[in-house]
């Protein structure tokens, strides 16, 4: 009985530590402090701008307490940053380069188009791709959608971009940025191979 009671107390302590540890892993507190200092703001000024208390900002910056999403939003507004930027994805620092002849090909089930991956892997924030579509072909049989946004530039050929009910024609050198949640599809309407570069965030594959 005493043995069990000791174990329960021990577990409770561990859970509490874990909570603060997770925040420390995200390095949220130090990110906020660094940003605040970069802006030459005192804790008092940030408190005023955000409508939060100085005490809390002090404790947050030193990872003493957790923070709600709402309060983090307020801090992001006061610091003039996008709240999503507090959450960082770190990419592998060893393997940076993809040589021309080392690109990974992504072949699709229902399309002859070919995507080539321009990053070593998909662990980063950006999916960087080279897309090759033969004349009359498209990147997919039907319009697809996913979270996020994507930017593309046509290096060669001519692309028809179907976006929802709208259509856009891209000539060589033209570029586009779309909201990827809108169903979309790319078709080569020229008579030569179309080559384009695409950057997508967050990654979809």
């Amino acid at each position: 009985m005493g043995f069990i009671k000791n174990r329960i107390i021990k577990i409770e302590i561990k859970l509490a530590e874990k909570r603060v540890l997770e925040l420390r892993e995200m390095k949220l507190g130090s990110k906020i402090r660094d940003l605040r200092k970069k802006r030459n703001m005192t804790i008092k000024e940030l408190a005023e701008q955000s409508g939060l208390s100085t005490g809390m900002i002090s404790q947050i910056e030193r990872d003493k307490i957790g923070i709600s999403v709402t309060s983090l939003w307020k801090i992001s507004q006061a610091l003039g940053v996008f709240i999503g930027d507090f959450f960082d994805k770190k990419i592998c620092e060893n393997n940076l380069i993809v040589k021309k002849n080392q690109r990974k090909r992504i072949e699709l089930v229902n399309s002859n188009a070919v995507y080539e991956l321009l990053t070593p892997d998909l662990s980063g924030k950006i999916e960087f791709l080279r897309l090759v579509i033969e004349p009359g072909e498209s990147n997919d049989n039907e319009k697809i959608s996913h979270d996020g946004e994507e930017c593309g530039i046509v290096l060669q050929g001519k692309l028809l971009v179907k976006l929802g009910e709208k259509e856009y024609i891209l000539e060589e050198g033209d570029s586009i940025r779309i909201d990827s949640t809108i169903p979309h599809r790319y078709i080569n309407i020229g008579d030569i191979t179309s080559i384009s570069i695409w950057a997508i965030t967050p990654p979809k594959f």
Copy 2:
């Protein structure tokens, strides 16, 4: 006295509503519910995976209470998404295209290199750029750093990428992904004009 007392009660109510309103604006609850359903998970299953209570997940999804960053992290892990993806930036849907002859040039103070913006503006998640550097020139006099990451592909010429204390050579067709917090600089070490495409998130200009 009774007039003042009524006003105090009224203000308290308003502040509480505002807190939930901010979360509703972010549409966090519905994003979580949509994702959970897309994964064919019950609230009970998500609770088990995240180590949180069913009661809380129910209330979060319906925007009844706020949520701490730590708990949101746990939910993001259980749903298999990156926590930053819960925070969305919506781009303008009217103005998508940049024609070849309409690109905005970004000229730098301390460099002859030229960036051309491939998106209509900087309101999106991705900064998409075309970089032109003449032989022997670079994009900056010294290494710069900023938050986030960037991917690039060399379309023409040869680039030396200085990244912290390391150096990498990119030939035509090669691509790279770097952590932008590491000081970096790009130099054209070839004998023809270097042209490259870069995607940066979050935007730095």
